[in-house]
């Protein structure tokens, strides 16, 4: 099985290889044909250098005589789930911001966010979400004159 030390360089190797494939397909403009440096030159250099570094890193890891295991690094399932919950919440917030507007989407984002983080006290859930969104909205739109989307669905 791929250990943690090999995982990173392997992922980068795959990424850099993909980058290299696309770099070699960058179309050259007619006047670039006879130029030494084109828009594809440095991407190709980066790709080649990156792949060499990845291979060196994989080689160095495989050559390591000892394998260190760090039991402290095991992640708790609940924390991983919470993190994914927050990532999904951020995607939903980004998608909802323009259709339903800043005030509603932000209030819901903060409220659900606190809940996902384990906050169950109703006072904190409510006081740290809706008033924060309203005060921020007021500061931005009324004091600083910055436009905040009111919601495409009803404007």
């Amino acid at each position: 099985m791929l250990n943690r030390e090999l995982l990173g360089p392997s992922l980068f190797l795959a990424l850099f290889t993909l980058y290299a494939i696309v770099a070699w397909q960058i179309p050259l403009l007619p006047f670039e044909e006879y130029e030494t440096v084109t828009s594809a030159t440095l991407p190709k250099v980066y790709a080649a250098f990156g792949i060499i570094v990845c291979l060196l890193s994989i080689g160095a890891t495989l050559l390591k005589p000892t394998e260190k295991t760090d039991s402290d690094d095991v992640l708790e399932k609940s924390n991983v789930l919470r993190t994914f919950g927050l990532l999904i919440l951020m995607v939903v917030y980004s998608a909802a911001l323009e259709p339903i507007g800043f005030l509603i989407s932000t209030s819901v984002f903060l409220l659900v966010g606190f809940f996902v983080m384990g906050e169950r006290r109703k006072k904190i859930l409510l006081l740290a979400s809706i008033p924060v969104a309203v005060v921020f909205w007021f500061l931005m739109t009324q004091v600083l004159g910055i436009y905040l989307v009111p919601g495409n669905l009803w404007s």
């Binding site: 440096v37 828009s39 990156g50 927050l86 951020m90 980004s94 906050e119 931005m140």
Partner: protein
């Protein structure tokens, strides 16, 4: 120089800018105190605000946040042994034992005074060194810039944590690759856009900075929470503040330490890739070695010198890191890389011409450092007990607020939800990379320098008729290039030594078995 100082003074003494210095120090201290959040996160969160207030004020605000965050990090190091910033880890070695002995107030006062002196000495040295270096760098040509940037990138990788050199190099290359996304400014060719119109202008610097630092930092604290529970200053096992007064004998004992460490910190800060963390550890080690036998034994158990040394060194290093940024346009650290990105976003090109083209930015940043240090001393010292209560803020609220301010900060600049989706994607990638122990600063440095490297490389190749001979034609270029190669080879020595040690350990284990 005198005219420059006067110009800087007149800019900083504008009541708006004075307010930004105060707000910057205040916000920086606040964020720096929170374990896990450092100056890069603090500055990243400030960028959207700085976009609306102009270059002078924006840079003054960010500089204030920078040294405020370092000072804030010291407070949590001393009070709860949980440094908010890597640069203040060394401060906890003696600061926390002092606090446990009931001298928390004294420890915080030493931190404040040492930081003040370190920062002030750094600002004076910066005032002398920056214009001199800027004059020298006026003779720099494109090839010199290419190798200088190469040096910056290799140095930040070489000085990253032990055994992380290759990882840092991968991150640097990743950053350089991200910088190639969008329309090539020289030829107008589309690169890596995959037909997506939102990518034609390239990836926004703000988005990358916010995703890799602010968002990833907040998320890493969720997925891998700090083992140490953060307690209020009023909790029974957390030290009480006590008196902040220092005796004459104590001041006399620390004075030479503060002087030496300030100069050492500044010099290390100037070096690309080094910065506050290395400066504070080196100052600590130097002072321990220089101390007489009786005082040497006190190190790690509450030595006043042991606290004063890293505190003065880290603040002086922060100031020193502005030298390459302001004079060469090359950031030496992740924090100054963010500032460089912000300057470019203002349409200002940092480098040798900055002093001539935008003297108010150049001098106001330098002069604001004096004011920043004074603000930290007179504003923060009396407020420490109140600041310490910040440490008791519920993590659930804090994390979500950081996520909110990061997302809305990027949205308010671009008004494009595509940027938000991309930001969340980058945050996920950054989170995975952080879990796999990849450093983030090289990525940001590569990303910011990528465009400048490409432009200067093209120009150099054109000047030398498509030959790489520009690397060795001028003595200056050749010297910097050789230094870069030496820096690149430097970690190889560590690798070979480590491998020998590992082999010896395995052999010893086998023999023992």
């Amino acid at each position: 120089m005198f005219d420059g100082i006067m110009l800087g003074l007149s800019t900083v003494l504008d009541w708006n800018n004075l307010l930004y210095v105060i707000v910057g120090c205040f916000v920086g201290t606040f964020i720096g105190m929170l374990p896990g959040l450092g100056p890069i996160t603090a500055i990243a969160l400030m960028i959207p605000i700085t976009y609306s207030i102009g270059a002078d004020s924006g840079m003054i605000l960010m500089a204030g946040v920078y040294y405020g965050a370092i000072f804030g990090g010291s407070t949590s190091s001393i009070l709860i042994n949980a440094p908010g910033v890597a640069g203040t880890v060394a401060s906890s070695f003696d600061g926390y034992p002092l606090a446990k002995q009931g001298h928390a107030g004294k420890a915080l006062a030493i931190a404040a005074y040492s930081s003040f002196i370190g920062g002030t000495v750094g600002a004076i040295l910066l005032m002398v060194a920056a214009p001199l270096l800027a004059k020298v760098s006026l003779s720099f040509q494109s090839p010199d810039y290419v190798v200088l940037m190469f040096l910056g990138l290799t140095a930040i990788a070489a000085f990253s944590n032990k055994g992380q050199f290759l990882k840092a190099m991968m991150m640097t290359v990743f950053g350089l690759m991200l910088a190639t996304v969008g329309i090539d400014p020289s030829s107008g060719t589309e690169r890596f856009t995959f037909g997506q119109a939102d990518l034609l202008d390239g990836i926004s610097f703000l988005l990358v900075a916010m995703a890799t630092f602010a968002l990833a930092e907040a998320l890493i604290n969720v997925v891998r929470p700090e083992k140490k529970e953060i307690k209020s200053i009023n909790d029974s096992d957390t030290p009480q503040i006590g008196s902040t007064k220092l005796t004459k004998a104590e001041i006399k004992e620390m004075a030479p330490t503060v002087g030496r460490s300030s100069i050492l910190g500044f010099i290390i800060g100037v070096l690309p890739g080094a910065g506050a963390t290395i400066a504070s550890f080196m100052a600590y080690a130097t002072e321990r070695n220089l101390a007489p036998k009786a005082l040497k034994d006190k190190f790690g158990k509450g030595s006043l010198r042991g606290l004063a040394a890293p505190e003065s060194a880290n603040n002086a290093a922060c100031t020193g890191s502005f030298v390459p940024l302001l004079t060469l346009g090359i950031p030496g650290s992740g924090t100054t890389a963010i500032m460089l990105g912000a300057l470019i976003a203002y349409g200002i090109q940092p480098g040798p011409m900055l002093m001539q083209e935008n003297p108010s930015v150049f001098w106001s940043v330098i002069v604001s450092m004096y004011f920043g240090n004074i603000v930290l001393l007179i504003l923060n010292l009396p407020l420490i007990p109140y600041f310490a209560k910040v440490l008791a803020m519920p993590k659930s609220v804090l994390t979500i607020m950081i996520l909110f301010f990061s997302l809305i900060g990027v949205y308010l600049v671009s008004f494009n939800t595509f940027d938000l989706f991309m930001m969340v994607g980058f945050a996920l990638v950054a989170l995975v990379l952080r879990l796999l122990a990849f450093p983030m600063a090289p990525l940001l440095l590569g990303f910011i320098l990528g465009d400048m490297i490409e432009r200067n490389f093209r120009r150099s190749m054109m000047i030398s008729d498509g030959s790489l001979s520009f690397l060795w034609e001028r003595p200056l270029t050749l010297s910097i290039f050789v230094i870069s190669l030496l820096v690149l080879l430097f970690p190889l020595k560590d690798f070979i030594t480590q491998r020998r040690a590992d082999k010896a350990a395995v052999k010893a284990k086998q023999e023992h078995a």
